[in-house]
Structures are given as structure tokens and as C-alpha cells.
């Protein structure tokens, strides 16, 4: 009887130890009565940032490809997970992305021959573009992407720069991004036929790698000029 009591005490003590509510975040901001004229909004605002959920995260969740150069496998292509997109990629393509990592490098260049002609850009953008090209050749993909983004800040409506960025993403294995960027380039390309064909070939390769054979065939037809 006493034994049971002691047993119970020990068990309760240990269980009680585990039920201490602990805070798992930084100290909460002190919320005081709002200053006159501010309304009740400040009280909720200071507590909002912790969630990151729909209420406070007014910029929607961003998934940056963090290990872009090394492990494209399973890495999100910069798209939020929970939006049903109207984009070209099917849900199966994301799984295909992660499965298909090993052999992307050498095959890309072979499949998507570079057809775009180099247009005339401002000297600043052109310098960056050349630098990006060098970086791409030496497989410094994050560097190439950064140079291209910098160039895009100078000439945001240059379809050629978008095309270059699409190629970099393709070589990184970020297929849905490559498709989207190529589509963006197409939307800005106007009548530059060679550039558009190049974009379509990028899209074709990306679709083929993600398993969308029908779409890939169609894209290849456009890439040939048909």
C-alpha cells in the first residue's frame, strides 16, 4: 500500500515535471493600451508577426531554393506549396523533379541548342550579361542568376535577359521556373523569332524532364518554327 503510494508519488512527480509550460519563442512584446487615436489595431499587430500564417503574412510564403546548385532534388521551385496554380506544371512534375537529378547537366545543353541571337543592350546590362554567361559556362549558376537579375533591374523588359535566366534555371534543374521564365521572355519578345524559338526549346526540355511529353512535343514544334 505504502509502496504503491510512493510509486504513485514518483510517477506523478516525473509526469508533473513534464507539464511545465515553457515558452518556445523570444520574449513576447509587452502590449499596452493603444495610444489615443490609434484605435485597437496596435494590440493585435504586435502579436501578429509570430504566426506567419494567413493573418499576418501579407506577403505570401516564399520558398527560396536554398541549395540550388547542389541538390535540386525535391527543392521547391520558388512556388508556394498551397496554391493551386494555373501553370503548366502538373503535381506529378514536382515528384519527377525530385526523382530526376543525376543526369540533368550534360543533357541540357545537348537538348536545347542556343538559338537566340544576342541583341543590343545598354553597355551596363551587356557587361553583366557577358559576366553571367561566363559564370554559366563555369557552372556558377547562383552567380550567373545574380548577374542576370542585376541586369534585369537595369533593363526589366529585355526578353533576352529573361531568356538567359530561363537557361540558367534549366541547367540548375529548376524546370518549372525555367518554363515560367521562358514564358515571361516570350511575352516580352514581340517579333523576335529566334528568341522565341529558343524559349520554346527551353520549355520543351523542361517539360520533357518533368514528364509532360505531350506538352514537350508541342513545344518542340514551336521551337522548330512550326
Amino acid at each position: 500500500m505504502i509502496r504503491n503510494v510512493i510509486l504513485g508519488v514518483v510517477v506523478l512527480a516525473l509526469l508533473g515535471a513534464c507539464s511545465v509550460p515553457t515558452r518556445t519563442g523570444p520574449p513576447a512584446p509587452i502590449v499596452s493600451a493603444p495610444a489615443p487615436g490609434q484605435g485597437t489595431a496596435p494590440a493585435s499587430a504586435t502579436n501578429a508577426p509570430r504566426d506567419g500564417e494567413a493573418e499576418a503574412a501579407s506577403v505570401y510564403p516564399y520558398e527560396a531554393p536554398s541549395t540550388v546548385a547542389e541538390a535540386p532534388a525535391g527543392m521547391p521551385d520558388g512556388e508556394p506549396e498551397d496554391t493551386a496554380t494555373a501553370a503548366d506544371t502538373s503535381p506529378a512534375s514536382e515528384a519527377a523533379d525530385s526523382a530526376d537529378t543525376s543526369t540533368e547537366d550534360e543533357t541540357q545543353v545537348a537538348y536545347a541548342p542556343d538559338q537566340a541571337e544576342t541583341p543590343s543592350l545598354s553597355p551596363a546590362a551587356e557587361g553583366l550579361m557577358r559576366e553571367a554567361e561566363q559564370q554559366r559556362q563555369s557552372r556558377d549558376y547562383p552567380g550567373a542568376a545574380a548577374s542576370l537579375e542585376r541586369a534585369l533591374r537595369i533593363s526589366p523588359q529585355s526578353a533576352y535577359l529573361w531568356n538567359r535566366l530561363a537557361r540558367v534555371r534549366l541547367e540548375q534543374g529548376l524546370y518549372s521556373q525555367a518554363q515560367n521564365l521562358a514564358a515571361r521572355s516570350n511575352a516580352l519578345a514581340g517579333e523576335e523569332a529566334s528568341l522565341k524559338r529558343d524559349n520554346w526549346s527551353v520549355i520543351a526540355v523542361a517539360r520533357r524532364r518533368t514528364g509532360d511529353i505531350v506538352g514537350a512535343t508541342e513545344a518542340e514544334r514551336y521551337a522548330r518554327g512550326g
Binding site: 513534464c18 489595431a41 506567419g52 501579407s58 516564399y62 553597355p123 551596363a124 515571361r184
Partner: protein, 828 residues
């Protein structure tokens, strides 16, 4: 989750302990003596002798069990203590940089703007700049010695630059020492703040060595006399306090050591139960075992809560001395130190700004304690007591000068990075903030709001505003203003003010329609007729136009241009409210909203930043990119922590977006935003939409140029009517912002499957070139009307050729952007 997990582990331990308890086979032997029947004396002897071992054994086992329990509990607490303490350590802050100014020939920049940027970078004006960080500037040319700067993607060397200006642009960029032309140069990035990314509040970090002796001794004298001697809890202090409290009949003295107070700070709620106190005591002991006295003192000095500045808490002596006295900690006098230490007991109760008498009383008490603790002499004490409070304004301002933008940066950091990474010392955070655009936005807000206040007869300061500017190509947030008082870290309306968007939703409805070119074109006739829908609760929803009139049959684009409610609702109901809602989500809205017909007139509530996200997708031709405030985060060794690369997703048909943009540009030219259209310089085109809500409570304008998208909101915090429509309020502010910064005109190139057709304005049918009622409207290929309206002479063969063979025509002029082809310009 953690508690559950711990619970399971502890339960497992409990079971294990219970099992070990059962294992010694004493049970059987214990029971057996009681069932046997010993005889006479031997029985009594045995029983008497058997009590002590019995008790001893059980006592030892109980003590062991309890000891084990306490020990295991201690392990658990120790882990918590370590996690919390490491988390509270204030290491080197992360440095936050704005976008660097990039210089290249052709970049729009005036000498004044360059001077402003150089001043922000703390460059010195010199007659002939020799040293890095100096410049000389006049109306035509600037000589700058730039400082070298390490960006994440490479180092930018220091240079001697010669910049030539002409026509508001950079006309020449040369390296003054070598004489060669330079294609592109980055100035060093401006440091806008030092923040602690894992915390929402900031500190002015003081190290143990920086703590003045006076402060430390005062602190000990007042709060914890034997700090350097005790083990975390001070039993003598507890006894003494208990005795004094008993005598006084209430709580007059606290017994918490500094360590215990520090531990108390780890907890979220402030309940003072026995359980909590015991936990704190235990944790204090553990803390003392792990960390040295100096470390604990340093953490305490940086953590202790000392006051409130609006919604911002003041923690730590470093920040408090700046906040109350606008002085550094080592400059404080005896009286000022005493005041700060006195605040520990009750920062609100003894708040010197609100209760000066109480504060003085408390301060004097502390001074007495300093005397009795032999920290200061009696003469010093009496001099200090005579001193006034000595409060000075202006110190301890929140991080940097761009608190609204920094709040966004913080949120993105905490959302997208691991906390461990953010705790590394010396991070460099490169953001997208464009200081030129930010300063223009801030000055626009501060100048326009008082004008709006007086125009509506409000007292100064009634109206509030928010504005966000982002780049249309890169989805980078260039500027953010969260309220009319820039630099004040209060409620950030751009991030957090959730307001109904009103007519801002209309472009989404029209986009949905135009995405079905077989059903709707820009000239489709809509009926602006009354709508009456039964709501769920039996009431009827009967919206009205703003002017309470009915406009009959209107072409689709005119309904958007004039923001006709009834026509829009009819269109939306035809399309289906769900379709429109899905489209709104595709464009980038993450917040939940009720999918009801009232949504068609903007009962959806969003923040200005969320609206910017939606309009950015429109500005980018139907390509959604998440808005980002951070470009790169780099650790102290220059290794990138993570990158925010540009990510793009096609969510809307580019042709439909082009058509919608055309209609939105008409809004600016001839619709509800005409006043903006009249202000635009020649050749500049912008598209947008006004938004007004019920009772004129919210005034919105959202729009974009070729390379920038901006949203402005004006309203009242207390949600009373602001008496402003979108065009009389937010539009003016928006115009001030956008006209003051550089923009590229809207893209003149239409997507290849758009054709321009001249149609009759009244009935949407083909019109001849000399038709007075004609207007050139873009159509998706194959959706243009086939029949002629009879207005104007029949189309000439050339015109017919143009319509059906637009490709040939366009290929000749595809690269040029002359006025003739720009459908966005007035005249079309």
C-alpha cells in the same frame, strides 16, 4: 508539441523508474512474515527489529526516487535554461543594407539625387575629393571617391569616379584615374539598421566590461546584495524578506536574486504561483552552474524590462539610458543611474514620464539604498536628491529610420530562415529598399496628408495613410510607408491594416472576363441595370452606382473606366463569383475571404502590401512573383546564408492582362483617375484603379507604370468616414509619389495575338477610319467584331489588311516604340 514529446519521454522514464522499483524481490518476502504466524517473544522481537530496516529501506528508496525525480527534472529544466539563455544572448547585430545605387550611362539621375545618396552614405563634400568617402558635385558633373564594399556576389573596389549629367540622366561615367569609360558602377550600400533578427525588439548591447561600476554596485545594493556570493537563490535574502514581510503584514521586500529575475523573464505569463517560483528557483541554480556571474549580469543588464515606448518595449540599460536621457550608459550621473535602477521594480508604476513624483520618490529611495550600501557618500546622495529628473527626449529611437520597411524585413527573415542561422553574429542583410524612392514616398505622404486633412475639414492628424512601391519586373519592395509619421515604429498600416478594397477588385473581374475572349471583349456591351440578390439571412443586397444613376448599355471597358458598380456586378454574376475568387487567389491573395456576391464590389479586406502583390501580377503581364524585401543574407565570412532569387509563375493569360491593362490605362486617361492622367508628363503612361469603400471610409489607388507598381491608401484608424473617394484622396498621394520618381512607360508592344481594330464607340461594331465615334481598341485575335456599324466610310483595303495581317505590319516596327503604336497613349 514539445510538451507532449517531453511528456511521453517523462512518462517513459516514470514507467522505467516504476519498473526498477518493482524489481527488488522484496514484495514476496515482505508479505510472507505477515502471513506466517511466529510464536510469542520471537514474534515481537522480530517485529520490533524489523521496523527499522523496514523504514530505513523505504526511506532510502524514497529519497533515491525523489532524488532521481528531481535530478531528471533538473535535466529537463537545464535544457530549457540553456535554450533560453543562448537565445537571449545578444551577440553582434546583423547589419541591414539598402539597395546600392547603380550608376550607368542613361540612368535617370540628377545631381541633387546623387548628392542625397552620398550624404546618406556619409560621404564628405570636399573641394577636390582625394580620400575614399568624399565627393565634389555641381550641376553638370560629379567627382566621387567611392569606398570599396564587399557585396555578396563580389567586391566592388573603391574608385575615383567622374559622373557627367545631362537632361536628368547620367551622360558620362568614367574612371577618373585611368580615364576609361565604365559600364556599371555600384556605390557602397547604405547601412539602414542594425538588428537582432531573432528578436522583434532591439537592444543597445552592453557588454559586461561596458557596465559602469556605479550601475553595477547600485544594482546589487538595491536588488541583490549578495549576487556574487550566492548560488542562484539566496536563502538568507529569502529569510530576511520573509521576516520583514511578516512584520509589515504584506509584501514589502522581494527576495529574488538577479538570476531569478532573469529566469522570470523567460516566461511568457506573469503568474506568481508557488509552482512557478519553485521552477524559477531551480532554474536559477542551474543557470548559475552553467554560466559565470559576469555572463548572467550581462544578460540581465540587456534583458531587464525598463519601460514602454508606445507599442515597443524598452529592454536593457543601454537602450533605457538612451530612451530616457538620450545619453550613453557611461555618461549617466548618480541620480540618473538611481532612476534607472529604481525602474526595475515597476517600470509602469514608476514611469518618470507619466508619474514624475512617484519616480522621484523611488529614485530617492534608491539613493538612500546606495548610501547604506556604501556605493556613494552622503554628500553625493544629497546632491543627487536635489537634482531634477533630467529626462531628455529624442534618444532610443527604434532601429534606423525606416521602421516600416524593417518590419517587413524582420518578418521575412523569421519566416524564411532558420533561427539558428539568424543567430550567427555579424550577418549582412542586403535588402531591396531604394532610398530615392523611399524618400520621395515619405515626403509625398508628409506633404499631401495635411492638405487632405484641411480639404475635408479635419483637424490636423486625423487622416492616416500607407503606401507601398515595388518594382514591376523584379517583385522587389522599393519603399514602404506605414503611417503619416515616417520614422515612427508604431502600427504598420502597409503591412497590417486590413481594409476592404472596394473597387480595386474590379480589374480582377474584368480580367476574368477578358480571359474568355470568345465571350467577352473590351467592347462587349454590358447592362448597367439594377441588381437585387437575396442574402442568406433573408435581407436583400441591392448595390447602387456611385452616382446613383443607371447607365444602360455600356461597353465593357467603359464600365471599368467609370467604375460602374451595377455593370460590374452583372458581369461578375455572369462569370460566377467563384471564378472571380479563384482568379483573385491566383493573382496572389493568400488571405481568406468570403466568396459572396458582395465580393464583386470589394468586400474583400486586404492590406496594402497584399494589394501590391495582386497589382504586381497585373503589372508583370500575368506572371506572379512573391514580393520580396531581402535580396541576400550573407554571414560574417561572406558566405551566403540563402538567396532570394527571382521566382516567376504564369497565372494569367498575358493577352487578357494586356487588354485589362489597356482598360486600366483608360481609367487614368479618361476615367475616375483623370486628374492623374493630366499630371503625367508627355510620353508617360500609367494604368491603375481607384477604390472607394462604403461611407467613404477607405480611399485607395493601385496602379503601375512600365517598371513600378504602387498602392496608396488613405483613411482613418478609427474607421470613421474619411470623406474621401479614391480619386480625391489616395490618387493624389499616389500621383505625388509616382510622378516624383523615375518610371518607364507602359510597354507598347502588345502580345502577338492582339490586333488593333477601330470600332464604333456606341455599339462596338467596326467603324471606318473617319468615324467620329470611332476608337481603336485592342482585341484578342479572332474576337474582333465582324460586322460594320455603318459609321464612317467602309474600311479601305489597307485597313482590312492591317486587321488580318497585323503580323506583317508589326514585324516592321517591332523594335521601335514610337508614339504611333502605343495603344496606351492618349488618342487611341
Amino acid at each position: 508539441m514539445t510538451i507532449f514529446f517531453h511528456g511521453r519521454r517523462c512518462a517513459a522514464r516514470a514507467v522505467a523508474v516504476a519498473k526498477t522499483r518493482k524489481r527488488p524481490g522484496t514484495n514476496a518476502t515482505r508479505r510472507r512474515p505477515s502471513t506466517r504466524a511466529p510464536k510469542g517473544k520471537t514474534r515481537r522481537a522480530r517485529r520490533r527489529r524489523s521496523v527499522w530496516p523496514f523504514l530505513l529501506r523505504w526511506g532510502v528508496l524514497t529519497a533515491l526516487a525523489l532524488g532521481l525525480a528531481v535530478f531528471l527534472y533538473g535535466l529537463h529544466l537545464d535544457r530549457i535554461v540553456r535554450a533560453k539563455f543562448e537565445g537571449q544572448r545578444w551577440a553582434l547585430p546583423a547589419r541591414v543594407y539598402a539597395q546600392p545605387l547603380e550608376l550607368y550611362v542613361g540612368r535617370p539621375l540628377t545631381p541633387a539625387q546623387l548628392r542625397g545618396e552620398l550624404e546618406r552614405l556619409n560621404y564628405r563634400a570636399a573641394a577636390s575629393p582625394e580620400r575614399a568617402g568624399s565627393y565634389a558635385i555641381n550641376a553638370e558633373r560629379a567627382l566621387v571617391r567611392t569606398r570599396p564594399f564587399r557585396f555578396w556576389d563580389g567586391a566592388e573596389p573603391g574608385r575615383a569616379l567622374e559622373v557627367g549629367f545631362a537632361d536628368g540622366q547620367i551622360s558620362r561615367l568614367r574612371d577618373a584615374s585611368s580615364g576609361g569609360d565604365l559600364a556599371l558602377v555600384r556605390l557602397d550600400a547604405a547601412l539602414i539598421a542594425s538588428i537582432y533578427p531573432t528578436h522583434n525588439e532591439d537592444r543597445v548591447l552592453v557588454r559586461r566590461a561596458d557596465l559602469p561600476d556605479l550601475l553595477v554596485e547600485t544594482l546589487l545594493a538595491v536588488e541583490d546584495r549578495s549576487f556574487f556570493r550566492h548560488i542562484g537563490v539566496d536563502p538568507r535574502a529569502i529569510a530576511r524578506a520573509g521576516w520583514r514581510n511578516l512584520r509589515a503584514g504584506g509584501v514589502v521586500e522581494g527576495a529574488s536574486t538577479l538570476t531569478q529575475q532573469l529566469v522570470k523573464n523567460f516566461y511568457l505569463t506573469k503568474d506568481r504561483t508557488w509552482e512557478r517560483k519553485l521552477n524559477e528557483a531551480y532554474m536559477a541554480i542551474l543557470l548559475e552552474r552553467r554560466y559565470s556571474k559576469d555572463e548572467i549580469l550581462q544578460a540581465y543588464a540587456n534583458e531587464i524590462y525598463l519601460g514602454q515606448d508606445g507599442s515597443r518595449a524598452i529592454h536593457g540599460f543601454g537602450l533605457a539610458s538612451r530612451f530616457y536621457f538620450n545619453r550613453e550608459l557611461d555618461e549617466l550621473s548618480v541620480a540618473e543611474t538611481a532612476l534607472l535602477v529604481g525602474l526595475i521594480k515597476g517600470p509602469s508604476r514608476y514611469n518618470p514620464k507619466r508619474f514624475p513624483e512617484r519616480a522621484v520618490e523611488r529614485r530617492n529611495l534608491v539613493i538612500d539604498l546606495m548610501v547604506s550600501g556604501e556605493v556613494i557618500s552622503r554628500q553625493q546622495a544629497s546632491a543627487a536628491k536635489d537634482a531634477p529628473l533630467g529626462l531628455r527626449e529624442g534618444g532610443g529611437r527604434p532601429t534606423g529610420e525606416y521602421p516600416s520597411f524593417l518590419q517587413l524585413v524582420r518578418r521575412q527573415l523569421q519566416r524564411d530562415y532558420r533561427e539558428d542561422d539568424l543567430r550567427s553574429e555579424g550577418l549582412n542583410i542586403f535588402t531591396t529598399l531604394d532610398l530615392l524612392v523611399q524618400s520621395q514616398t515619405e515626403s509625398a505622404v508628409s506633404e499631401r496628408l495635411p492638405q487632405l486633412d484641411s480639404a475635408r475639414g479635419f483637424s490636423e492628424g486625423t487622416l492616416e495613410a500607407a503606401a507601398v512601391v515595388a518594382s514591376a519586373g523584379q517583385a522587389e519592395v522599393l519603399a514602404m510607408v506605414g503611417g503619416r509619421t515616417s520614422g515612427y515604429a508604431g502600427f504598420n498600416r502597409a503591412l497590417d491594416a486590413v481594409r476592404p478594397i472596394g473597387s480595386l477588385i474590379k480589374p480582377v473581374i474584368y480580367l476574368t472576363a477578358l480571359s474568355q475572349p470568345e465571350r467577352y471583349t473590351l467592347m462587349t456591351i454590358l447592362e448597367d441595370r439594377p441588381v437585387s440578390l437575396r442574402a442568406g439571412d433573408g435581407s436583400r443586397w441591392e448595390p447602387k452606382n456611385f452616382d446613383h444613376k443607371l447607365h444602360g448599355s455600356v461597353p465593357l471597358y467603359r464600365a471599368l473606366v467609370r467604375s460602374l458598380n451595377l455593370a460590374t456586378v452583372n458581369l461578375g454574376l455572369d462569370l460566377g463569383v467563384r471564378e472571380v475568387a479563384q482568379n483573385l487567389r491566383d493573382l496572389g491573395v493568400m488571405r481568406r475571404f468570403p466568396v459572396v456576391p458582395a465580393m464583386l464590389l470589394g468586400s474583400v479586406s486586404l492590406t496594402p502590401l497584399e494589394v501590391t502583390q495582386v497589382y504586381h501580377t497585373l503589372a508583370a503581364g500575368g506572371f506572379r512573383s512573391p514580393l520580396r524585401a531581402i535580396r541576400e543574407v550573407v554571414d560574417a565570412e561572406g558566405r551566403p546564408l540563402n538567396r532570394y532569387p527571382l521566382a516567376v509563375e504564369a497565372v494569367a493569360d498575358p493577352t487578357a492582362v494586356y487588354l485589362t491593362t489597356w482598360a486600366m490605362q483608360k481609367v487614368v486617361l479618361e476615367g475616375t483617375a483623370q486628374s492623374l492622367g493630366r499630371r503625367l508628363p508627355d510620353g508617360m503612361t500609367m494604368a491603375g484603379k481607384t477604390g472607394t469603400t462604403d461611407g467613404l471610409r477607405d480611399s485607395w489607388f493601385a496602379g503601375f507604370s512600365g517598371d513600378k507598381v504602387a498602392v496608396a491608401w488613405v483613411g482613418r484608424d478609427d474607421n470613421r468616414p474619411a470623406k474621401l473617394t479614391g480619386s480625391s484622396g489616395a490618387l493624389k498621394l499616389w500621383g505625388d509619389i509616382m510622378i516624383g520618381i523615375d518610371n518607364q512607360p507602359l510597354l507598347a508592344l502588345a502580345p502577338p495575338d492582339v490586333e488593333r481594330v477601330r470600332v464604333d464607340r456606341t455599339n462596338g461594331l467596326l467603324a471606318g477610319p473617319d468615324c467620329g465615334r470611332g476608337v481603336t481598341v485592342p482585341f484578342a485575335q479572332g474576337s474582333a467584331p465582324g460586322t460594320r456599324s455603318g459609321c464612317g466610310s467602309p474600311a479601305s483595303p489597307a485597313q482590312v489588311a492591317e486587321r488580318s495581317d497585323g503580323k506583317a505590319q508589326r514585324s516592321q516596327r517591332d523594335q521601335s516604340r514610337s508614339r504611333d503604336e502605343n495603344l496606351f497613349l492618349p488618342g487611341y
